[in-house]
Each structure stands twice: as structure tokens, then as C-alpha cells.
């Protein structure tokens, strides 16, 4: 059951073609709730938003290269306009990356199946997905637009880019696939995991933290895809199956909790007026519903058991272990290192989530605005609630979701094995419930009830002045302070001098210098006098004549 359509607009004389198979349907399914939630979060009236969504839909449903890239770029263009309206600074970088991906994708789709085409696809789509080392634009651009759009960009747009990678690596270019292709994906993914998680831990601004964590999760998905691709090329059923299960389940889960978090961040902005963590604090008291939903999202973001993010993490680690069990010694050592990286990344993500929630929503308010924040608006809350509700099955019944994914997995890798999931959150929950019941009874029976509120011991600091009813903000842990030691212990090794993102320092900056050089040259040409311009023409003419003479003489 795979319906196809033809549109009568498109390339002159050719039009566009759409085709829906399991893969497209899955990603459309991932997209749908986010679009709804984004619309609920206040984007309902923005035409650009709907064009944005339309572009993603086109790209996912495309049956020919033109439609795919048309949709892809339509998506980029619309989101660029939204970013531009939000903040002009990152817009240029953003659109530059978008066009770069087009400049890589268009040639790639017309090249014969082979390594070059694959690498171009990874470059183009990877740049759009925020895959290291082409991720530098993402933490700047994703926070810029309104929350609903950020949500869709982080949860949906990167998925579309990943969809392109999947579509080409597993379906279109499949005949030419080789194991090292998987290796490329794994390496890029691991780099993204490390840098994304670390920056998510270090950044001081709520939406930026979320964007960096998106980089990390894209990396995790890509690692899964890489393992699966390698498994498929080596005809290793377990690797292929586990890798795909992990990647797709991650895509589903991340598509739920990340938009939730972004919309929540938007509400924080609306309620407090800023999203700088060091200006928040104690928001749970003011906005309890938002707080709980954000807590759920953070649990997903940090891959906590019984949260939506754990099952894919679980599968991914198993896939990595399986991958380390086969192949040459170099590859095996590589996968051992990969496990270490995944571990560090997971711990960093946990730290980032704790910091996000603990600094932003717990503790004492750091500003009067934070103290006075009121509950979030109904629309966004409804959107978040929708996403949160959809998180529940992913969190508690991942097995069922995996069964839904099986046809996609078989479409991508026919030989893949999909064993039942060894992680059963439901039974864990039951055990926890039993213990909880027993403990509650015991405490009820023997313990004294009730809780008395007293002033907290403020660590020996003097009494706060009267105009700070919630105590002196300087006397409580800050987001910066929380992250600083980790930056000192790990960042020094991974980041460029001055704590800059290595991709920016070692990739973006040199390119900009190169561009400036070109501009200087062009300016020198532009300032030429008429005689010099004549000289250009004349010289060019003579050169051409010489070339002609030699070309014919030979």
C-alpha cells in the first residue's frame, strides 16, 4: 500500500511527483504532532510557519529529486525568514548553511551511486541536521525564532535532514554501500554527541542549551544509523536491526520531548521576560504545570529510565556493543572508544538536564520577574500536554512502538533482525510501585506525619536586604558556576582556546578570512580606472587568442 501522486506544477514540462512509503509515513507521523503543537503555541496565524511545514511535508513525500530538494529548500527558506524576524545576526549564517546543503545535495542526487554521492549527501543533509563539524549554526539559529518555530526546527527540520540521509544511504545508494560509510556516520555522530552534550552543559541560555542538546541527539541518531549501515553492508543482521531500532526510536522520542521543551522555553520567555538561566530560578512555584511538563521533557532529554529517552539509548548501547563484537581490530577499538564517548555524553546530558531544571525551576528566584512569573498560557500548555501525553507510550511501552517501526526497518534493511526489547519499563514501574507501596505503609505506620516549613540555612551568609524577599541571588548556585568546573575539567581538552566551539574556531573563521581576501581582490578590480579596465579586456582577448592559436596549432 504505497500511494503515489503527480503534481502538475514543478519543472517546466515535468511537474513534481509524490510517493508515500513506510519511511515517509513514519517521518510524517513524527512531524504531525509537532506541527499541531507549534500551531497551538501561537504560530497558527503565521503563513510562513505553514509554508515551513509544507516544505517539510514535500521533502518527506517526494518521489523525485527536484521535489525533494524543492521541499528541502522551501523549508530552509521559510525557516530562514522566521529566524530573520526573530534575530538578524544568525540568519545569514543559517541561510548560508541551507544553501550549502542544497549545493551539495543537487549534485549528489545526480551522481552515480558511489562514495562521492554518499559523502555529498552526508555533507549536505548533515549540515542541515547540525552534524559535527557543520553544527556551528544550529545553537545560534534555533533559539532565534518564536518558540513554536524553534520547536519545529529542532524536532522536525533536523529529522527531515536525517530522513534524506536515511533515504539515500539505505535505499537509493544501497547497491554501492560499503562498511566504511557507516564508519563515517558513526564518527560524525560521535563528534556531535561529545560537542553537543558538552556545550549543552556549558551554555547559559535556556533555548541555546536545548539547541545544543539537539546537536547531541542528532549525533546519537546518526551513530545508530551508522552502525546499522555498517551492519547492512557487512550483512550483520543484529547490528543492522539494533542500529535502526535505536535510530528510529530516538527520532520518534526526540521529536516529542524536544519540541515540548522548546515551547516551554518560549513560555518561560513570555512569563519571565528572559531565558538566561542565571536570571530564572524557583519557577516551579509560579508555574507548576509548566514545571512538571518541563521535568518530563528534561527526563527525556537526559535519557532517564522510565522516561521516553531511555529505550533508544538502551538500544543504541546494545548496538554499539554488538558492533564492537565484529570487524577489524581498528574498528573494534574505535567502537570501544565510541562507548566511552556515549557514556560521557549521557552523563553530560544528565548534568545538563539537572542544571536546566534545578537552576531554572528549583531553588530561589534570582530576579523579581522570576519571582512574579505566572502560569503559562493555555494554548502552549495544551500543545505541551499533547506532546507529553504522546511521550507516555514511548516511555512505558517502547516494545509496541518498536513493532510499529518494524516495517520501516525491514524496508531499509531486509535482512535486519528485530529482537524483542530487553528493557521492560512497565515491569520496572511495577516493582517500583510495590516498593513504594510498602515503604509508604511503613512510614505511615511508624513515622510522624506532616512537614513544617522553616527558613533555610543560607550557608552562613548574612541576612538578605529587605528588597530581596527571596534572599540574595548571589548567595545561591548559578548556572555559570554549576558548569564552570566541568568546563575546566573537560572543556579545556575539547574546546578551542577561549572556550569557543572548535568548529567555529577551526572551520568557520578560516573560511571567513578567505572570503575577506576575495573581497579585497574584487575591490581592487572595481577601483580600476578606465584605462586599466581596457587593459583587462585587452589582456583577456589576447589570452583567448593565444589559447585559440595554440589549441589549433597543436
Amino acid at each position: 500500500m504505497t500511494p503515489s501522486f503527480a503534481l502538475y506544477v514543478g519543472l517546466p514540462g515535468q511537474g513534481m511527483h509524490l510517493h508515500l512509503d513506510a519511511l515517509s509515513l513514519l517521518f510524517l507521523g513524527i512531524l504531525l504532532p509537532q506541527v499541531v503543537a507549534g500551531a497551538m503555541a501561537g504560530m497558527r496565524k503565521s503563513v510562513t510557519f505553514w509554508v515551513f511545514a509544507l516544505g517539510m511535508g514535500l521533502a518527506l513525500a517526494a518521489a523525485d529529486a527536484f521535489t525533494l530538494i524543492f521541499g528541502f529548500e522551501l523549508m530552509s527558506a521559510a525557516s530562514w525568514l522566521l529566524v530573520l524576524r526573530g534575530d538578524q545576526k544568525p540568519a545569514t549564517l543559517y541561510v548560508g548553511t541551507a544553501i550549502f546543503s542544497a549545493a551539495c545535495l543537487i549534485p549528489a542526487v545526480f551522481l552515480p551511486a558511489g562514495p562521492l554521492a554518499f559523502l555529498l549527501i552526508v555533507l549536505g543533509a548533515g549540515a542541515k541536521a547540525g552534524l559535527a563539524p557543520l553544527h556551528f549554526w544550529l545553537p545560534r539559529a534555533h533559539p532565534a525564532p518564536p518558540a513554536g518555530v524553534s520547536a519545529l526546527m529542532s524536532g522536525g527540520m533536523v529529522k527531515v535532514a536525517l530522513y534524506v540521509i536515511i533515504r539515500y544511504a539505505f535505499v537509493v545508494l544501497a547497491p554501492a554501500a560499503q562498511p566504511w560509510w557507516g564508519g563515517v556516520l558513526v564518527a560524525a555522530g560521535a563528534a556531535s554527541v561529545l560537542i553537543g552534550a558538552l556545550r549543552a552543559m556549558l551554555e547559559g541560555e535556556l533555548k541555546t542549551v536545548l539547541a545544543c542538546s539537539t546537536v547531541e541527539h542528532v549525533g546519537l541518531i546518526t551513530v545508530g544509523l551508522g552502525i546499522a549501515l555498517r551492519g547492512k553492508a557487512m550483512d550483520d543482521a543484529t547490528m543492522a536491526g539494533l542500529g535502526l531500532q535505536a535510530a528510529l526510536l530516538y527520532a520518534v522520542a526526540h521529536g516529542l520531548y524536544k519540541p515540548l521543551l522548546f515551547i516551554g522555553a518560549g513560555e518561560v520567555k513570555h512569563g519571565v521576560g528572559t531565558t538566561a538561566l542565571d536570571w530564572l530560578g524557583g519557577l516551579v512555584r509560579g508555574m507548576p504545570k509548566l514545571g512538571l511538563l518541563m521535568l518530563a521533557g528534561a527526563a527525556g532529554m537526559s535519557a532517564m529510565p522510565l522516561g521516553p529517552g531511555f529505550a533508544p539509548e538502551f538500544l543504541l548501547l546494545h548496538a554499539a556493543i554488538a558492533a564492537a563484537g565484529s570487524g577489524g581490530i581498528i574498528a573494534r577499538i574505535g567502537f570501544t572508544a565510541l562507548l566511552a564517548v556515549l557514556g560521557v555524553g549521557a552523563a553530560l546530558a544528565l548534568g545538563a538536564a539537572v542544571r536546566l531544571f534545578g537552576i531554572g525551576f528549583l531553588g530561589r528566584p534570582r530576579t523579581l520577574q522570576a519571582a512574579a512569573a505566572e502560569e503559562a498560557r493555555r494554548g502552549p500548555l495544551a500543545g505541551m500536554a499533547l506532546l507529553g501525553a504522546l511521550c507516555v507510550p514511548v516511555a512505558l511501552l517502547p516494545g509496541l512502538v518498536l513493532n510499529l517501526l518494524t516495517p520501516v526497518i525491514l524496508e531499509l534493511a531486509p535482512q535486519a533482525q528485530t529482537p524483542p526489547l530487553a528493557y521492560a519499563p512497565l515491569s520496572l514501574a511495577v516493582l517500583a510501585g510495590l516498593v513504594a507501596g510498602a515503604g509508604w505503609l511503613a512510614l505511615r505506620r511508624y513515622g510522624v506525619r506532616g512537614t513544617r516549613e522553616v527558613a533555610a540555612w543560607n550557608g552562613g551568609f548574612g541576612k538578605a536586604p529587605p528588597w530581596l524577599p527571596f534572599g540574595d541571588p548571589a548567595a545561591q548556585p548559578s548556572a555559570t558556576g554549576f558548569a564552570e568546573p566541568i568546563g575546566r575539567a573537560i572543556g579545556r581538552g575539547l574546546l578551542a582556546p577561549g572556550g569557543a566551539d572548535p568548529a567555529e574556531a577551526f572551520l568557520l573563521a578560516p573560511l571567513q578570512r578567505l572570503h575577506t581576501r576575495g573581497v579585497r581582490l574584487a575591490e581592487r578590480i572595481r577601483r580600476a580606472t578606465i584605462r586599466q579596465r581596457l587593459a583587462f579586456v585587452f589582456a583577456a582577448l589576447v589570452v583567448f587568442l593565444l589559447a585559440l592559436g595554440l589549441g589549433e596549432g597543436s
Binding site: 577601483r527 580606472t529 578606465i530 584605462r531 581596457l534 587593459a535 585587452f538 582577448l541 589576447v542 587568442l545 593565444l546 585559440l548 592559436g549 595554440l550 589549433e552 596549432g553
Partner: protein, 219 residues
């Protein structure tokens, strides 16, 4: 018939030599004179071709050339020289010897380029084509190596002589007279422009004045 070709070649050769010596000149007056000579020879060549090919409009071309290029334009140019008293030698963008070496090179290029062409029985042979082409290139070289507006215009004029030289050689080509007229319009505009815009030394000064003006406004 043989005489036709040899005479045509002779005139072409003279034109080329004149164009080459144009390159060597520093003083405007001399350049104008040389240009005038070139125009005379050109008109003669036009008449000759007209006689050889029994083409009326070649005679016409010759008349136009003689009347306007060989007589009127030089007068106008001399007027400009007097008006803006540019008697002294003009500065060149590169040493004259250098430019002459370049000129030789250009002639070499022209020959190299037309060599492979296989011209069957048509009145204009390779040599003529090579000559015309090198006259054109030399004229352009003059334009690019002279800093003085008038010198550049003279270079352009001799380029255009080369064009007409090629045109009159074309067997039975339509519109030859029209072409030369159209080109003359162009030239007239050039000379008139020099009058109108009162270019003292060379375009560069105009450039600069313009530039400052514009930089202030932001371009």
C-alpha cells in the same frame, strides 16, 4: 588580377606599418599625422578594392573615409590639442620599447591565429586578414598603453581603421558603407565627448574627481 592582390597587400602593409609607428610616438601631433596618413592609405585601399570588385559602395566607403577620417577628424583633433594645449609629450603607461615588443608579439599572435584558416579563392587572403587583425590589436594596445585621452581616442580610431580594412576586403559583403557610417557616428561621439566633457589630461582625472564625489555619497 594578380596586380590587384599585390597592391592590396602593399596598402595593407603600409597601414600596418603606420599603425606600428603610431605605437612608437610620444607626441600627439605626430600621432594625429600618422593617423591621417593611415586614413589616406585606407581610403586609397577602399577605392582600389572598389575598382577591383566593381562595388559601388566600396567607393562610397572610400569617399567617407577620405572626407571624414582623413580630413575632418584630424582637424578636430588638432583643434582639441590647441584648445587644451597638449603640445608636450604624453606620458605612457609603459616604456615605449616595451610596448613595441608587445606590438611585435601581437602581430605574432595575429599570424598564429589566422594561420590554420583555409581561405579558398576569395579576394581577401590570410595575409590581409592577419594585417587587419594586427592593426586592430595594435590600436587596442595604443589605447591601453597611453594615459592621455586623446591618444587613446587615436588608438581607437586606428583600431577602427583596421576594421574597415578588413571590411573592404570582404568579398561582396553587404552593408560595408553602412558599417563605416555607423562606426563614424561612434567616433564622432567620442570626439564630441572630449569637447563636451572637457577632459583635460586623461580619463583618470575624471575618474578620481568622480570617485571622491561618489565615495562621499556612498556607492
Amino acid at each position: 588580377m594578380n596586380l590587384t592582390f599585390s597592391l592590396a597587400h602593399l596598402m595593407g602593409g603600409i597601414i600596418l606599418v603606420l599603425g606600428f609607428s603610431l605605437l612608437s610616438q610620444r607626441r600627439l601631433a605626430a600621432m594625429i599625422t600618422i593617423y591621417q596618413l593611415q586614413a589616406f592609405v585606407l581610403s586609397a585601399a577602399a577605392f582600389w578594392q572598389g575598382f577591383a570588385q566593381h562595388e559601388v559602395n566600396l567607393y562610397l566607403t572610400g569617399l567617407i573615409t577620405l572626407g571624414i577620417k582623413a580630413v575632418l577628424l584630424p582637424i578636430g583633433l588638432r583643434q582639441i590639442v590647441l584648445r587644451f594645449n597638449m603640445i608636450r609629450a604624453v606620458e605612457t603607461a609603459m616604456p615605449v620599447v616595451m610596448s613595441m615588443i608587445l606590438g611585435v608579439g601581437l602581430i605574432g599572435v595575429a599570424v598564429l591565429v589566422v594561420l590554420p584558416s583555409t581561405l579558398s579563392a576569395v579576394s581577401l587572403t590570410r595575409e590581409d586578414l592577419a594585417i587587419a587583425l594586427s592593426v586592430v590589436l595594435l590600436g587596442l594596445l595604443v589605447m591601453t598603453t597611453r594615459r592621455n585621452a586623446l591618444a587613446q581616442i587615436i588608438g581607437f580610431l586606428s583600431t577602427e581603421n583596421g576594421l574597415v580594412l578588413a571590411a573592404i576586403g570582404m568579398p561582396g559583403m553587404p552593408f560595408v558603407a553602412e558599417f563605416s557610417v555607423a562606426l563614424l557616428v561612434l567616433l564622432a561621439f567620442l570626439v564630441v565627448g572630449v569637447f563636451l566633457f572637457r577632459i583635460r589630461e586623461h580619463f583618470d582625472t575624471l575618474d578620481l574627481s568622480g570617485l571622491e564625489e561618489i565615495e562621499r555619497r556612498g556607492r
